[in-house]
């Protein structure tokens, strides 16, 4: 072929070659070339080029363009179609087995989706801050004499500014002064606002909370300014724009609203309804910016991306010594930085953690992952067992395919295709199950999970699909391998490969039941521990205890309120305290004058009303309780707990001189009593040393009203009536102590609910798997059973015979799994200072439950075949 001197433009040719139907390509291209050559000779290259392009463009029409699915089936489309057809036929031919396969995979996947939703909800916390990788919370490890070492989320007001000055790594800091629930008023409108806190003006430099109205740069710069969230603003004003630059009052002073915040997202550990400017507290006489010694703020630092946390932490002791003139300072305080993403999920050992909404124990997320893996494994085992146990049903097909020329690899692919198809099918069912059951699960675990967000993210959809695909492949590998490993001649003869007894199948059953037993035992134990925490004697009475928020006026009129309430028949007791039970109490210095000198100790302290011990049913072990009749009991009498007494190791505790550390050593009070240890903190923690004191002039934060059981509604109404009459300045606002304790153990409760649900599912999946497997294996023994019956075997002998193998497997599973479970549970229980002992009966119970359920499951088949007429059995085949 002669080389053509100049060719038509390349791009149109390429385009044409690309879109043209391959059957037409050659001849049309030939036509185009011929025309081109001719035109070039006739009217020049340019015209020929243009005409060529026009021709190509006009060729772009439906009948010329190649079909998208390929004009010639060079792909394996037809093969897949065949696989699909055969698979579908198999699925519908063996409905029970297919149902078990799809259902168990679907339940497994559905459970995984729920767990994923739960975990991703937890992990989404604080992720909306754009600088979240560089934000750290300043925490302390405190070690004071006479008190347990503790991690706290509090810091001193002086620390933030000093760190910024001393460390170049610190870009910015922001301090939170949590004021809790506060009464905010606008003229006659009064509202209790839940979370009021003061923050530094750097708030928006560090965090990405959004401001709807106002100047983000200056809104926190001046004293007496306040930011309100949108929904809070609407409690006082009709519109947000009306509110901006208007004022509201708090604590008797006017605050200008310099900004309106968007409501705080649910997944923020910092929740607030109103923010006061910190400069309100740092300007004027009581400047707290250089306050050291007392920890009552929460400090967050924004560090340079390059900051080395370790080296910073190493410099903290020197930093502390620089700013605090106290030789003990580095023994008492060890500062450390906590990554922002750990605040929500890894703060369970941190106390005095007041700004931590929905704090969750992150290590439970690992447990959830493990459970998800268990469930999937159990479901996968069903598939593997049932498929391999029924391999003989497919041998003829395999034989024929092999004869026609299928390679091992292709057969393998076929079976993998089948399992992937089933997995895909299971995914659809799983999503339907989730849509149906997530509301129910939400009720059970007290969450607000939704499946929809799963589909709003391409990556998540991809992850779900890839997960399902790999599940299909992984579960398919062993059965496919098994099915294709057979020798052709044996397959065609319908040969046997020892199908009845498969070591691997037995192993899988052992794994399956092992996991189920482990989960049953764990559930039993977790529930036991939680009910132990709920019901164990924590040393005081938390039932029917109503807590009412108090302000100044309520404190002033406390005695009157108390008298009024005590007159009501359904009210069993009224008292008040400075802090609520269920958390650690504030700790401050305390001194005790012993024979050896003055001991300085830092116990937890609480300010209570005279009859606090009576109302809460706290037992006095030595000495006496507080009494109004004793004038010195106001501020100069202390009741300590046993732990404190033990720590002091005094010969005679009662009567020892003692006081808060600001009391002059010559004007101390007296220890008048020792109470039995009670768990004022959660049961995750050991009882700390505690001193109770009566200090009415400090004011109480909450009124405690003990209401008679069964008359709760009446009691609430009565308290409200009295309150509204006597305390017009403050709205009636109450909660119940047991509800507060629910909140304290929420993380544990949710974990136990999830574990319990998942255990139920694990048992369900294991059992339907066992049911299917029993059906198959017993069917294979039909002939044997017939012969045995003819020879005189009784029904019970046959039932025993059939059940024996499964029973042995369950027993092996139990024996293997028990020690591992014991160890794991032991580890979990160690996170509780107060815990149950692991009772081995729980293990026995779990084992027996699994055993009984397993045997009952297969009993349907064993009974049926044992009772069947042997004639039928022998005619089988």
């Amino acid at each position: 072929m002669k080389k053509i001197s100049s060719n038509p433009p390349l791009l149109p040719i390429r385009l044409f070659r690309w879109f043209c139907h391959p059957k037409l390509k050659e001849s049309i291209e030939g036509d185009l070339m011929e025309l081109y050559e001719e035109r070039k000779v006739k009217s020049g290259k340019l015209k020929a080029d243009v005409k060529f392009i026009v021709d190509v463009l006009f060729l772009f029409r439906p009948s010329i363009i190649k079909p998208t699915e390929g004009y010639q089936q060079l792909n394996t489309y037809g093969m897949f179609k065949n696989y699909f057809k055969i698979s579908t036929r198999n699925i519908f031919k063996h409905k029970m087995i297919s149902f078990i396969n799809v259902f168990s995979l679907a339940v497994g996947l559905a459970a995984c989706v729920v767990i994923y939703l739960f975990v991703s909800d937890e992990q989404s916390f604080d992720s909306f801050h754009s600088k979240n990788k560089n934000i750290y919370r300043l925490d302390e490890v405190q070690k004071f004499t006479g008190t347990n070492e503790q991690k706290v989320a509090l810091s001193m007001p002086g620390m933030g500014p000093a760190l910024k000055r001393d460390f170049p790594e610190v870009q910015s800091y922001v301090r939170f002064w949590q004021r809790g629930k506060q009464l905010i008023t606008k003229d006659d409108t009064k509202h209790l606002i839940d979370n009021v806190m003061a923050v530094d003006s750097t708030f928006f430099d560090v965090f990405d909370f959004s401001l709807v109205h106002g100047d983000i740069n200056t809104c926190l710069d001046r004293p007496q300014t306040i930011l309100l969230t949108e929904s809070t603003v609407l409690k006082f004003f009709k519109t947000a724009s009306e509110a901006l630059n208007n004022t509201v009052s708090w604590d008797g002073k006017d605050f200008q609203i310099t900004g309106i915040l968007k409501d705080v997202p649910e997944n923020s550990h910092i929740q607030f309804e109103a923010l006061l400017s910190m400069v309100t507290h740092t300007s004027g006489q009581n400047n707290v910016n250089d306050s050291w010694g007392a920890n009552w703020m929460t400090t967050y630092l924004l560090l340079e991306p390059t900051a080395d946390i370790k080296s910073m932490e190493e410099k903290f002791p020197a930093f502390m010594s620089r700013h605090m003139d106290d030789p003990q300072v580095n023994i008492n305080y060890k500062l450390y930085l906590q990554r922002l993403d750990e605040v929500h999920l890894a703060s369970n050992d941190i106390e005095h953690d007041y700004i931590n909404y929905r704090k969750f124990n992150g290590s439970y997320l690992t447990i959830f992952y493990v459970i998800a893996a268990f469930i999937l494994l159990i479901a996968a085992v069903n598939f593997m067992n049932l498929t391999t146990a029924r391999a003989s049903h497919r041998w003829k097909e395999i034989g024929v395919r092999k004869t026609i020329g299928a390679k091992k690899f292709q057969l393998f692919g076929q079976f993998i295709f089948e399992s992937v198809m089933l997995a895909g099918f299971a995914l659809v069912v799983a999503l339907l199950l989730d849509v149906l059951f997530i509301p129910l699960i939400n009720d059970l675990i007290g969450r607000n999970l939704a499946i929809l967000p799963l589909f709003q993210n391409v990556w998540q959809i991809a992850a779900v699909l890839i997960g399902t695909l790999s599940l299909g492949i992984v579960t398919g590998i062993y059965p496919s391998f098994y099915m294709t490993s057979l020798n052709l001649s044996r397959v065609l003869k319908g040969g046997n490969k020892g199908e009845g007894k498969s070591v691997l199948r037995s192993t899988l059953v052992v794994i399956q039941f092992g996991l189920a037993i482990a989960m049953i035992v764990s559930t039993l134990l977790v529930v036991q521990q939680l009910s132990f925490m709920k019901e164990s004697d924590i040393g005081f009475d938390k039932d029917q205890m109503m807590l009412v928020n108090m302000n100044n006026e309520a404190n002033e009129k406390f005695e009157t309120i108390k008298k009024e309430l005590q007159n009501q028949s359904m009210i069993k007791g009224v008292t008040a305290s400075g802090q609520r039970l269920g958390n650690n109490f504030h700790q401050w210095g305390f001194k005790v004058k012993a024979d050896t000198g003055v001991l300085a100790i830092t116990p937890s302290n609480v300010n209570v009303d005279y009859d606090y011990l009576n109302v809460y049913g706290i037992e006095v072990k030595e000495g006496r309780g507080f009494s109004k009749d004793n004038l010195t009991d106001n501020g100069f009498a202390f009741i300590i707990n046993e732990s404190f007494a033990k720590e002091l190791r005094l010969k005679e505790t009662i009567g020892t001189r003692a006081g808060h550390d600001w009391y002059h050593s010559d004007s101390l009070g007296t220890i008048i009593g020792v109470v039995k240890d009670f768990n004022f903190n959660s049961l995750h923690y050991k009882v700390n040393t505690l001193a109770l004191v009566v200090h009415p002039d400090w004011g109480y934060s909450e009124l405690s009203v003990k209401i008679e059981k069964g008359r709760t509604e009446e009691g609430i109404a009565a308290v409200k009536k009295v309150w509204d009459e006597l305390v017009p300045s403050y709205p009636f606002d109450y909660t119940f102590l047991d509800a507060h304790f629910e909140e304290v153990y929420r993380s544990d409760q949710q974990m136990s609910a999830v574990v319990a649900i998942m255990t139920g599912l694990a048992i369900l999946i294991s059992c339907i798997g066992l049911f299917g497997l029993a059906a198959i294996t017993i069917e294979k023994k039909t002939k044997e059973i017939g012969v045995r019956k003819v020879l005189g075997a009784t029904e019970s002998q046959i039932i025993f015979l059939l059940s024996r193998n499964f029973a042995i497997l369950i027993i092996i599973a139990f024996v293997m799994v028990s020690p591992i479970t014991y160890y794991a549970l032991h580890r979990w229980l160690e996170s509780f200072a107060y815990r149950i002992d692991i009772n081995l009966l729980v293990f026995a119970g779990g084992g027996i439950v699994a055993f009984v359920i397993g045997i009952l499951t297969i009993s349907y088949h064993t009974f049926r075949s044992a009772r069947a007429n042997p004639v039928k059995a022998l005619r089988y085949e």
Binding site: D31, L59, P67
Partner: protein, 124 residues
């Protein structure tokens, strides 16, 4: 996909031939053994003095072939075609019937026109 499979639709209409299709069929007949893309195009262009794009022609040829009115076979590859083979077309028996049908329907129509009508028309 486009125009694949059975053409019951066309069969039902019995020997349906579009105007351009008929021209192509006739031209293929005129060229007899020399009917391929470029020659058909040129023949139509010269005889009917109208422009024919390669795309329109190829589409018509393909459709006619699918209807079974034309059959094709690959011919020689020549230099000016950069080594691409020519695709020659021939009228099939069915194609002949279709052409005849088409012609006869027109003839019928022609013969049915009253003379006056034509006279009048030309008269205007």
């Amino acid at each position: 996909m486009w125009l694949r499979g059975n053409y019951n639709y066309f069969v039902m209409k019995k020997y349906q031939l579009g105007e351009f299709e008929e021209v192509v069929m006739l031209t293929v007949g005129v060229l007899y053994k020399e009917a391929y893309g470029v020659s058909i195009k040129k023949e139509i262009e010269t005889r009917l003095s109208r422009g024919v794009s390669v795309g329109a022609l190829q589409t018509a040829l393909k459709r006619l072939e699918e209807k079974g009115y034309l059959k094709s076979f690959d011919g020689e590859a020549t230099e000016e075609r950069a080594g691409r083979p020519k695709k020659y077309f021939q009228i099939t028996a069915l194609g002949k019937k279709a052409m005849e049908y088409s012609k006869s329907t027109r003839d019928e129509l022609w013969s049915a026109i009253p003379k006056v009508a034509l006279d009048l028309k030309f008269g205007v």
